[in-house]
Amino acid sequence: MTTTVTISDGALAVGEARPCDGAGAWVSFEGIVRGDEAGRPISALVYETYEPMAQRVLTSLGEELASRHGLLAVHVEHSRGRVAVGGCSFRLSIASAHRKEALAAMDEFIDRMKRDAPIWKRPQWAVTPMSA
């Protein structure tokens, strides 16, 4: 079983991870920066991380879920710093023998990451032109 966690500056590039041998399911989720926060337009989100704790929490979570759900691989990627609207800030890719365990682990991982991983985001509000 493999767990990798990468925290890097800016928007995530196109994912390069691929399913490992033995995988019958490959589930990948990408979080994309939406153009608004609570209805107010934004230009970007700026992510702040407390490292190495964030790395440790995400790794531990991946390993725990891999063990409990019998996963083959968990790959976590998260941005730090500025990610413009439309950019990818989070990617979770899970390989397993069958789809059910990967889908269940995906949902649980994201819920627990949002509760426990020391990562914060701050909106950069879009500048709207002043009306004449």
Partner: protein
């Protein structure tokens, strides 16, 4: 004992600084630190009840005893993803 507490995100914005120093008289537990932070930095009061402490990068409960040289962070509501 003097403890430096790292602040992030909304808690840093509320306090206006990225770290605060707190003097603890008596047993330096996370519970004592929580109380002292509320007194010394009232701007943090609204979040202190629900916020957690991390000691050396791991969440610590209120009974945890903080040692000299430990890295302590206040972790409020997080928002990754």
């Amino acid at each position: 004992m003097r403890i430096e507490v790292l602040l992030f995100g909304p808690e840093r914005d509320a306090a206006g600084v990225d770290r605060v120093r707190v003097e603890i008289d008596g047993e330096p537990t996370c519970a004592a630190l929580r109380a002292a932070l509320g007194t010394g930095t009232p701007a943090l009061l609204p979040v202190l009840r629900s916020a957690r402490f991390a000691v050396n990068g791991r969440f610590a409960d209120d009974a945890h005893r903080i040692g000299a040289g430990d890295e302590v962070a206040l972790i409020g509501m997080v928002s990754g993803g």
